[in-house]
Assembly symmetry: C2
Homo-oligomer: 580 residues x 2
């Protein structure tokens, strides 16, 4: 929540969405918390999009206050099937009302939000089941396989790749309600085993209070904090190969997972749970990233870490430009001095936006920075914090300070970092508020090696900006000695679904053509599915097809284009000639 | 080389093996360097094995001085095939003489050595090809697939799993001679791309002198130093999922590999080369561990690290017993203070042997230790060193010191570590010297979680010691926050192949029954192949079978039991009931 406006106050929608409304489905975040741009940012938005205060007096299109109601027949599931499911999980935990069906059909890409605002009801499940334990899920998978009923899974619902969408109708498992229990906490090994529907905040709360809940000797942390943390689930983290904002230190989820259990059409799959092995291809790494197409993830064993927030050292620096900032960032990651936990480097455009978002752009700080040679639309903000044992944490911060100084960065202290921390999970709340006035926000991200970083940054941004009057914020995060994630946030006045699809596809094309991996942590889902075979190569992609056929011969697991697995050739997108 | 003996001097074989002899094939290491036990160790060996000086006056059996010569017809390859291979790689680089054929047939398990000493010639290739580049290998793979000729690969030859053995005859590619070049060094990304036959020492020499060879700004290291380093190859590291002695800091090879290229029967497979991705299952992790059964690894891109030996901090401590040492080791790895590079904890039996090997057991040090409560057959030696940037390295050493002190370990300083370093690659030379007198040495290792460490240590050692008069040395190395590798060296008076096979199988059974992973870094090969399906589970193992069938439908890639892939059911070993 920001300070009140001096002059005009836009008609920001601040009330919680009505029960059972469309808005209650598409709106992200805590229903009782609203976020809108501060006055500086509001003025900047008006300017970029050629809007006036008048445009903020009424909403642009439907803001979804109506009660969810539609008439869409079931595609596959019969009343006999429903009886079976009820007998298995309890009558209260099988629902086929409109609200239940729609609430698990879509994720959180703009494509989803636009459809919900426009009441376009497609690809919804016939029935939603709220399982309680792995055995129920195993029986459901066995049943749907036998009866050839498509099966989908809804975890936290933050997919931006149409990962949860029920293209072929059938059943969706909503994991949030009951399938969220701890199976085992092992303090000696520092691991926890949970059901896949376990939510991020609940997991972290349990671990932070491990003494109370598990009789542990100390407090722990899960180390995994995606921006969607508040409504994300462990299962979603794992099957999509997600990353948390602290991944530079804690690793991506594939670095944190120790073991997995899946219910697949051919039976239960249990991966092993050792730190490392030399027993053939890694089954853990085959199942992670399968995005529900091989089976339903039921249980996960995760590494846990010591919770030591007192050791945290915050830092932020202003670099003179992107080129020098990139060199410094690389040096920080290659110096072998330990690594920061959050490591976030904004490019010039994002830096200006962040300064506005945090209310410092028109203040004396910005003016002083300019005088010192840290110029508007040039300067780049770098922020983060360290974790780990105190000596380790301090050594990382010390080396970052040294390298920042070597590259003539201005020390902004930890204050900027604290502002970022305050908004790290709820900055995305701005998105719905602004979309009420026709302003679209979405993101794409990619994995890049250092030697190609400048090119990817240039080319992808050039494409994004080829659309007039578009804000494109780029930052580097999730950083490694060999490269980093580049993250693009694009904001535009846009209300039409086809416009969005075309623009989104164009950016994804630009990412692939520039030589980056098409996703570092969002996953592939059904939205990026058409690109995957062209990106990996036909023979390489063939491994996914044979694995899919092995686990799911009847194609009932998340069918309809997940990982591009059941797409027709004509629907796939090949951007490069096969080079071998 | 050790000090001369005071009394009797055994007939240690010190001369280099004659050219083209059996010994020149089976003897490990630099031909011009010999290692034999010092007098203390010699006396201890005599005692354990009830041997006298008389037993060391003549060799026990054949020591392999004869010239290699045998009459074994080709199994598959015709003269037309040979003509084709010669036209492809050059006439000088295709050999079918006895020596060439035998020299690539076996690895270095005792099973291999016993066969060579006994002149048991089986499972040799029909012809050996010395390829020069990836294109040649791609054409060879295409040809052998078309003509259904089995294809094997010989890298450094240090396999202890019968990984290279040419069960079905056919072709073996000897990668050492020519296929060992650098393809690209990328200092910005800190990566190097090499041909798979690149040797460990050559790679390290290039990287240590990167300024000279590549015009780099600084020196680098590969970070991967298996005990077999001197004669190991990059390709071998990768396809078996190997680990170096410094893996606690640098990671196992799967943590170091960025990208791979394979020649498979269905065509060329190129994995991607990003630090991390979210684009479905990991192809890199599917190919690593395929042990030649999916295709021939041709090129590898590895991460490289800064070479900073001046920052290294050596340490060694003596713990009072294994129980307390395990707790301390775990705390060191879970403290999040950074990690040591070499981290090696010997159990009580190994500690006694190491003290002898390094000549300190009968000295004042050992007596003083006893007085202080560090008792014989109880005390446990822990040693290692740190790597990385100076502040990081010092912080790790400081925390290790603190934790060692907390658990009442005695500081042995870095001297013991230096002695270990001196012998780290040539201690295995002792093996051949002792085998000349009928004393067998071999090793097995496994991956263990902390909570199961004591059990695995107890049970596996109990089995090993169930054989009378056997030395069993155990240490923990390659250590993680969640567990470690346990490494067993067993030494016995043993000369019969069947005795060895039975004992070796029994240990592997004990490892699996105790709840450890059957290999942390040696791999599976053909020797552990029978265990793999039972270890992983039938459905889980099924993924390997469908991948194998996809890449190699004619079963010409390392056929004959690699990863157990083409074994009959009756030849597989299932130790547990399927539990799901």
């Amino acid at each position: 929540m920001s300070k009140p406006y001096k002059d005009f106050r836009p008609q920001w929608m601040e009330e919680a969405a009505p029960d059972d409304s469309y808005r209650s489905i598409f709106r992200w975040g805590n229903p009782n918390f609203t976020k809108y741009p501060n006055e500086h940012l509001y003025k900047a938005i008006k300017k970029v999009f050629h809007m006036s205060d008048d445009d903020f007096k009424q909403y642009d299109g439907n803001i979804g206050l109506d009660k969810v109601s539609f008439d869409v027949p079931k595609k596959v599931v019969t009343s006999e099937d429903i009886e079976f499911f009820k007998s298995l999980v309890g009558a209260d935990f099988v629902r086929d009302d409109d609200y239940a069906r729609l609430s698990v059909a879509y994720g959180k890409t703009m494509y989803d939000l636009l459809r919900l605002r426009k009441k376009i009801i497609e690809n919804i499940p016939d029935v939603v089941i709220y399982p309680d334990n792995s055995t129920q899920i195993e029986k459901i998978v066995e049943y749907v396989n036998e009866h050839k009923i498509p099966l989908y899974v809804y975890g936290g619902g933050s997919s931006v790749t149409r990962g949860v969408e029920c293209i072929k109708g059938g059943v969706s498992l909503d994991m949030r309600l009951r399938f969220n229990k701890v199976i085992e906490f092992n303090e000696v090994d520092q691991t926890i085993t949970v059901e896949a529907g376990m939510s991020g905040p609940k997991l972290e709360e349990l671990l932070n209070n491990a003494q109370k809940y598990f009789g542990a000797k100390r407090a722990y942390t899960c180390g995994h904090f995606p921006q969607s943390f508040e409504y994300s689930s462990v299962g979603g983290w794992v099957v999509t190969r997600g990353a948390g904002q602290n991944s530079t230190y804690y690793g991506k989820i594939e670095d944190i997972v120790m073991g997995q259990k899946y219910a697949t059409p051919i039976g239960i799959i249990i991966t092993s749970h050792y730190p490392r092995e030399a027993t053939g291809p890694s089954l853990n790494q085959i199942m992670m990233g399968s995005e529900g197409a091989f089976g339903v993830l039921t249980e996960v064993t995760l590494r846990v870490f010591r919770y030591m927030p007192k050791n945290r050292r915050r830092f932020s620096y202003m670099f003179k430009n992107w080129e020098v900032a990139m060199v410094a960032a690389r040096e920080m990651m290659q110096k072998e001095c330990g690594v920061a936990s959050v490591f976030r480097l904004s490019d010039a455009e994002e830096t200006e936006e962040m300064m506005m978002l945090y209310g410092v752009d028109h203040g004396p700080v910005n003016a002083a920075l300019s005088k010192l040679g840290y110029l508007p639309n040039k300067k780049c903000l770098f922020l983060g914090f360290t974790d780990g044992e105190l000596g380790y944490s301090k050594n990382v911060a010390k080396n970052i300070r040294r390298i920042a100084r070597k590259y003539h960065a201005f020390n902004m202290t930890g204050v900027v970092t604290k502002a970022w921390e305050k908004g790290r999970f709820n900055d995305p709340y701005l998105r719905d508020t602004m979309q009420d006035f026709g302003i679209m926000t979405d993101t794409l991200e990619c994995s890049v090696n250092w030697s190609n970083m400048a090119k990817v940054h240039d080319e992808v941004r050039a494409y994004c900006h080829s659309r007039k009057d578009t804000i494109v914020l780029t930052h580097m995060s999730h950083v490694y000695p060999q490269g980093a994630n580049l993250y693009f946030i694009f904001i535009a006045k846009m209300n039409e679904i086809d416009d969005f699809k075309q623009y989104h596809s164009g950016i994804l094309d630009a990412i692939q053509k520039s030589g980056a991996a098409i996703s570092h942590h969002h996953g592939v889902g059904k939205m990026f599915g058409p690109w995957l075979e062209g990106y990996l190569g036909k023979l390489e992609y063939g491994t996914f097809k044979v694995l899919k056929h092995y686990f799911d011969p009847n194609n009932v697991m998340n069918p309809g284009g997940t990982l591009g697995l059941d797409l027709e050739e004509k629907d796939k997108r090949f951007l490069k000639e096969e080079n071998h």
